[in-house]
């Protein structure tokens, strides 16, 4: 019976009931929904498939396999934690859109055909938008619009690709696609936009920092990981993904190092982590795909934890600018401690979740002789120690005191962060919990002497390097600034070009009007002057024009007939 409900629908439908509930009941229902969904997920039999006819095409909105399941588990965990984190709000819109967003992302994981995928794909785009708009500032509104345009374009590309793919193969199934035709290339691009491929990543660093405190937590979990899932499903082993991922891991690290807004820093750090996963998909071996799934799982949790911590800081102090923060440890000790757990995880410290997932991808890359990529990823790991491991925690909680005194984060936020931190730690200590969920059998042991020793060295020496660099004055200092990225193209260059083109067009138009159209107009007026008593006809130009056009078309049809 419970299998009849498509996964994710519990969240979507349940969210729609939310506005009609009141008071405590509303909050209970809110927290209960992800739990219910999670329970349903554990009951789903693997291999289940539902299908129905949609004007002549068999669609398959539910298909359960291990790749979908591992992502679905972490999405439900993320949904639960995000909802707890957002429990202090009095904003039904954010709750509803957050749950619909999470539910549609989960639904997309189980879409067995491209049309169902497309539908969920677009719902995630629309629902997530309100996590940005709910901030209700002009900047958030504009960033949201840009976000919407890009997300919808991704959907349009997906649909166009689907249609072309269908025309080529007659199949709508969402399975391994490969870069074999124009259609699948468009689908690849659609996924690439949401996965924040280099040059397609502008929306992420643009929009996430503008989202609400709780919205950024929701956003960090679903959209990009859904794209990673889709890439893993459709394009595993596509070689071009390896350099793409390496570039993502590298360039985002540079940006993260110089970013002042800590939530934007986290957005870049997120892109960098996505780069690891994209490399994993590109490598395509069983271990690489396991690593991608595992890293996505771990990264949802620790990245969520870091966004939650920065959200709490934003909530209490009103800013996440590194240049304005410092010394918050005294005011927010719990947040500081939990944030450190997140930092340790992303730095891949042994006993924390990053350690057991990231190295799978690295090992797979090395085993498949992607030596350069391996080196780049390793350097990006060191970079992650710098920007997300040290800087986030240090600048906010331990650095020079800026005199900000505030309350500790609300209780529900601490609960959510505590839960996420616990999970990060649990996965680090007992990696088999995660490994059993992975799509392929795992024969990988993270806790070997050499691996632990290497990783500890990397981290310790990176920290030492940070100290040295600061002492030598070589470390990029935090200062109030905006760093240009690809979104400059459509935020600055494009409007400029449009204005320029508009001016030129207007000039051209007036030139044409004054010459060519004058002739036509006077011809029309001549006809009117004889056939239409002016004034009586009210809007004579359009009548005359219609008559003229009718005559022209008549001539055109006759010519076509004779030619």
């Amino acid at each position: 019976m419970i299998e009849a409900i498509p996964p994710g629908m519990i969240l979507i439908l349940g969210a729609l009931i939310l506005p009609f509930l009141g008071g405590a009941l509303q909050r209970v229902w809110l927290v209960l929904l992800p739990v219910l969904g999670f329970v349903q997920l554990t009951l789903l039999p693997e291999g289940l498939a539902q299908s129905f006819e949609f004007f002549g095409y068999g669609l398959n909105p539910v298909r359960v396999d291990s790749l979908s399941l591992v992502f679905a588990y972490v999405f439900y965990l993320a949904a639960f934690l995000s909802v707890v984190y957002a429990l202090h709000l009095r904003d039904t819109v954010q709750w509803v859109s957050g749950l619909v967003y999470a539910g549609s992302a989960i639904g997309a994981l189980f879409a067995g055909d491209l049309i169902s995928l497309f539908v969920y794909w677009e719902i995630t785009a629309l629902a997530s938008l309100f996590q940005i708009w709910a901030r209700r500032t002009e900047a958030a509104y504009r960033a949201g619009l840009r976000y919407l345009v890009i997300q919808v374009s991704s959907g349009v590309l997906l649909l166009a690709g689907t249609i072309l793919h269908f025309a080529d193969t007659g199949s709508l199934e969402f399975g391994a696609l490969g870069l074999v035709s124009v259609g699948t290339t468009l689908i690849f691009l659609a996924f690439g936009i949401k996965a924040a491929f280099p040059l397609l990543h502008g929306w992420l660093e643009d929009a996430y920092p503008e989202a609400t405190v709780t919205g950024a937590v929701f956003l960090s979990a679903f959209t990009t990981k859904l794209a990673i899932y889709a890439l893993a499903r459709g394009f595993a082993g596509t070689e071009i993904l390896v350099p793409i991922g390496a570039v993502m891991a590298a360039f985002a690290t540079f940006y993260a190092l110089i970013e002042n807004d800590l939530r934007r820093l986290l957005a870049y750090s997120l892109i960098s982590q996505l780069g690891f996963m994209v490399v994993g998909i590109g490598v395509g071996s069983e271990m690489a795909l396991n690593g991608t799934a595992a890293h996505a799982f771990a990264s949802v949790l620790y990245k969520g934890l870091l966004f939650m911590a920065m959200g709490a800081v934003l909530y209490r102090t009103g800013t996440t600018r590194s240049s304005e923060l410092g010394g918050l440890y005294g005011s927010m000790p719990w947040t500081a401690l939990l944030c450190l757990v997140g930092s340790a995880s992303i730095a891949a410290l042994p006993l924390f979740s990053g350690f057991i997932s990231k190295s799978m991808i690295l090992t797979a890359a090395a085993e498949n002789h992607y030596s350069l990529t391996y080196t780049v990823l390793l350097a990006a790991s060191a970079g992650a120690v710098l920007h997300s491991g040290i800087r986030i925690s240090y600048d906010t909680f331990f650095g020079p005191d800026r005199g900000i005194r505030c309350d500790e984060a609300p209780r529900n936020m601490r609960f959510a962060m505590g839960g996420a931190a616990l999970l990060c730690f649990a996965l680090g200590v007992a990696p088999n919990l995660l490994y059993e969920l992975l799509p392929y059998p795992v024969n990988y042991q993270p806790y070997t002497f050499s691996h632990v020793a290497d990783q500890l060295q990397l981290i310790a020496f990176s920290v030492a390097a940070a100290v040295l660099l600061v002492r030598l004055g070589l470390y990029p200092k935090a200062r109030s600034a905006r760093n240009l990225d690809i979104d400059w193209l459509y935020r600055s260059l494009l409007p400029g070009l449009v204005q320029f083109a508009g001016r030129q067009l207007a000039r051209l138009k007036s030139a044409i009007e004054s010459r060519a159209l004058m002739g036509l107009q006077s011809a029309v007026r001549y006809v009117q002057g004889h056939h239409a008593p002016t004034g009586v006809l009210g809007d004579p130009w359009s009548i005359g024009a219609t008559a003229l056009w009718a005559a022209l078309l008549l001539v055109a049809y006759l010519l076509m007939a004779y030619l």
Partner: protein, 84 residues
């Protein structure tokens, strides 16, 4: 890491704690480096099997990253309200 005065009620680590922490860090680095001579390695690349390879890689990578990032900053940095 910082030259500023410690504050009483803030959460900033004070100078003494900071010095202790740095000393600890140095010690950890040294221990790890020494210990690395006694760990059996089976890296995929030859350089990984050198003792202390990851430590040096970390140092080097962080240095290069910081330098390139500073360079990048020269090109992309604008006023905070650039888009407004």
């Amino acid at each position: 890491m910082s030259q500023e005065k410690p504050s009483v009620s803030g959460g900033q680590a004070d100078g003494a704690a900071m010095r202790r922490g740095l000393r600890l860090l140095g010690l950890i680095c040294a221990v790890l480096f020494v210990a690395d001579f006694f760990v059996e390695k089976h890296g995929h690349h030859a350089w990984e099997n050198l003792p202390g390879a990851y430590g040096f890689f970390g140092l080097l990578a962080c240095g290069v990253l910081a330098l390139v990032a500073s360079l990048l900053r020269k090109f992309v940095e604008r006023d905070e309200d650039y888009y407004d």
